[in-house]
Amino acid sequence: MDISRMDDLVAQALAGDRRAIARLISTVEQGGAEARQVLSRIYPHTGRAHIVGITGAPGTGKSTLVAELAKAYRKQNLSVGIVAVDPTSPFSGGAILGDRIRMRDLATDPNIFIRSMATRGSLGGLARATADAAHVLDAAGYAVILVETVGAGQSEVDIARMAHTTLVIQMPASGDEIQAIKAGILEIADIIVVNKADLPGADQAVAALEAMLDLNSGHTEWHHGRLFQIEGVLAGGDQVKHSWRPPVLKTCALRGEGIEELVQAIAAHLQYQRESGLHQQREHDRAAEQLQRILRYTLLEQLLERIPKHALQETVEHIVAREQDPYSAAEALIAQARLLS
């Protein structure tokens, strides 16, 4: 893409042109130099949207819940961007993205933009791609951005890094068995939702989650700062002590029940963050984290450009043969690259 074409697309996207938005999302999703150019152009226009992450195991009804949330925001006359992520097949690299089936009612609303995205391999790359897609939608003026991801471990944490508010979706488990809740999942949740609450066991699930929250609060501060804490000077100023206890809400998205309460809870969380200074802190942490990530990536990229491919391969062979250890090998390659510059 040449520069003037990119400038045009960015201008159009900022003005809300949906085709330009769609193209830019493809570009940033792809990553690489073009993506960086796009992102640097739109950056000044970001930071206005409320980004809400929605995560939970498959089958918990995330897409339906997202659709219902979008409808509720539309009633408040807010525009809504949706990024829905589905897994890529590890065998073929292809994917079937089916979230739009659930969002049928939103399909022709001019103030809703839905984008399906595949994980495409690395989960780290996914976090970047979803964050960047959300930035494009943010810059284009969408007031609320709902990012729905596959409930697969690391991606949940990654969502929490990016979102202002993270919803963790659970559903009543069959029988007495309460759905196994992964370690750490409660720590990333700002709001816990027990969806499909019409199924038996909803109240037990709520009670179990509340009990787990109580247990956790005994020795953990409800701070998300920990997740963003990074080594060294980049870590932000004083950690803000705060006391947001994630509410546990029941919804039945299929029937639209409990959605109003959920929307209120999301708004309350945003307000709490603003008043407590947490919002500021998160913004700061996010920026720091992002900067560090970009630095790390850019340096790596520059370094790799200077090291011939065969040199890398040879070093790998040496390491495998135990002729060299990876630590000294890395240092040697860096030193070599510096000499070349």
């Binding site: 089958g59 079937i96 089916g98 979230d99 089936i101 659930r102 069959s174 299929l254 029937r255």
Partner: protein, 559 residues
């Protein structure tokens, strides 16, 4: 089948045969495939012997026709007494055009009618609904009001002939229109015979023409059971259908298991309403697919009868032997037809129809050769009907009851399919029953996987489809296709507008209001629907009232 001593002797002889005769042959001439499979992907042995049915107990497992467990047929004399009903599924365009087709079919020896409705009708929309655009009359006849139904059956003796109607979500409304149309001709409902498909579970599972969520849908169905058992004793109030499950890609075992599981769900729902099982069970009917794999299909039909008899007697404690009967209609497999060299479809259909007859079907539709291309032309549908007549009168297969019983292969496969069905019943039970399994996408996933596997087998040439991946020809199509009357839609829209203008709209509003009130309660809705239909309420208007009260179904995401 045989005594222990004989079995040991046969086993020995078989081993000997394998070691010598067979071994020598295989050494010289290897077989065409390493593994042979049925259309459903089940393995096929080289040879079946008494050893494969060693546990078969004739009286317990087969018995005599007309007697429990009905493996050999529900009637003692089967086709020697009366041939199956030759019932050709037909409908296209406006009521006028389809009425003419029915008269044509009857004139050529058809013995029962079967109505195909267009998509807007199947979804409970009138012809002038925005979503109906482009769909009028394409896959069936459009029926938006009683006025259309009157024309559809004009001049047809509905008190003498039975009519089957393929309608599900709005079945109660269409049935009411049929009843009201007969009533206007002075024919009381008690004299009407026929079938409404009325099987919503397989819509969620396979065919996807649903209106309401499961709970109100089941209520409407039980309403029709109850109404039918009181006022239309000759009417089959449901046709529990495997046909569409199979068409969506299921295997024979899946078709069998899912259909019978649906059947059990309906029976349970009616019992839960407080109906006596013997009051409605004799009016339950079934509808199966006849696919290519000749013996597997025959085994499927026989297994279905045996399982159903057992379930009705043992599980639901039905006492009337008629409640134990599995009566079924069969249609040859539409999905097996090829657009390439369409004349070959006549042969496919013949083989499939033969399987249905040897499987003991009560009625049969044979597909026309051109159905992979368009709606059937008169010529094509006549050949399809003649196919049945040739089987009935020339082939001789209808002259003896269940002639394949005792075949080692057929009995062994009957047992296998029965066993596979019970395994599926257990899985469905473990998921909480049919409706929870639908909501979890169990059936949809099973079927989509089978469909994909089948297609891959064709791609990889593990399966030969004549004219498609072998023996192809690149010749232009020569068979004449049906053209719809371009005036049909205009005529239909005008009639609809006239109905809305000329009826007593105040009366209709009262009746729709009464229906709305009843829908919010728990009463049987049939009388209210019938009243609204009599006042010329349209299909769309009546379904809208129900949609408003019941909501609409949303499909789980299964790809």
């Amino acid at each position: 089948m045989h005594d222990q001593e004989t079995m040991v002797s046969i086993a020995k002889a078989k081993e000997e045969w394998e070691r010598t005769t067979l071994h020598d042959t295989l050494a010289k001439w290897p077989e065409r495939y390493e593994q042979f499979i049925t259309t459903s992907g089940a393995p096929v042995e080289r040879l079946y012997t008494p050893l494969d049915i060693a546990d078969l107990d004739y009286e317990r497992d087969l018995g005599f026709p007309g007697q429990y467990p009905f493996t050999r047929g529900i009637h003692p004399t089967m086709y020697r007494g009366r041939l199956w009903t030759m019932r050709m599924f037909a409908g296209f365009g406006s009521a006028e055009e389809t009425n003419a087709r029915y008269k044509y079919l009857l004139a050529h020896g058809e013995t029962g009618l079967s109505v195909a409705f267009d998509f807007p009708t199947l979804y409970g929309y009138d012809t002038d609904h925005p979503l109906a655009e482009g769909e009028f009359g394409k896959c069936g006849v459009a029926v938006s009001s009683l006025a259309d139904m009157e024309i559809l059956f004009d001049g047809i003796p509905v008190d003498e002939i039975t009519t089957s109607m393929t309608i599900n979500g709005p079945a109660a409304v269409i049935w009411a229109m049929y009843i009201a149309a007969a009533e206007k001709r002075g024919i009381p409902m008690a004299k009407l015979g026929g079938t409404i498909q009325n099987d919503i579970l397989k819509e969620y599972i396979a065919q996807k023409s649903w209106l309401f969520p499961p709970e109100p849908s089941m209520r409407l169905i039980v309403d029709t059971f109850e109404f039918g058992s009181k006022y239309l004793p000759k009417w089959n109030t449901i046709s529990i259908s495997g046909y569409h499950i199979r068409e969506a890609g299921a295997t024979a075992a899946q078709e069998l298991a899912f259909t019978l599981a649906d059947g059990m769900t309906y029976v349970q729902a009616a019992i839960d309403r407080g109906l006596d099982v013997d009051s409605f069970a004799p009016r339950l009917s079934f509808f199966f697919n006849a696919h290519n794999d000749f013996f597997e299909e025959i085994a499927k039909f026989r297994a279905a009868r045996r399982i159903w008899a057992h379930v009705m007697k043992e599980r639901f404690k039905a006492k009337d032997p008629r409640s134990w009967w599995l009566r079924f209609h069969t249609q040859t497999a539409g999905c097996s037809l090829t657009a390439q060299q369409p004349e070959n479809n006549i042969v496919r259909t013949t083989i499939q129809a033969l399987a249905a007859v040897l499987g003991g079907t009560q009625s049969l539709h044979t597909n026309s050769m051109d159905e992979a291309l368009a709606l059937p032309s008169e010529l094509a549908v006549r050949i399809a009907l003649r196919t049945q007549q040739i089987i009935a009168h020339e082939s001789g297969v209808a002259n003896s009851v269940d002639p394949l019983a005792g075949s080692y292969l057929v009995e062994s496969w009957t047992n296998r399919l029965e066993k596979e069905a019970y395994e599926y019943f257990d899985k469905i039970e473990a998921l909480g029953g049919v409706i929870p399994a639908i909501e979890k996408g169990f059936f949809q996933r099973e079927i989509a996987a089978s469909a994909y596997r089948y297609q891959r087998e064709i791609e990889e040439r593990k399966r030969i489809v004549v004219g498609v991946n072998e023996y192809q020809m690149d010749v232009p199509l020569t068979i004449p296709l049906l053209k719809l009357d371009p005036e049909g839609e205009r005529r239909q829209r005008e009639r609809l507008a006239r109905v809305r203008r000329e009826r007593d709209n105040r009366l209709l509003q009262q009746r729709l209001a009464a229906l709305r009130r009843a829908a919010k309660g728990t009463e049987n809705l049939m009388p209210y629907i019938l009243d609204a239909v009599r006042a010329y309420g349209t299909l769309g208007e009546i379904c809208d009232v129900l949609r408003e009260v019941f909501g609409e179904y949303r499909e789980p995401v299964i790809i």
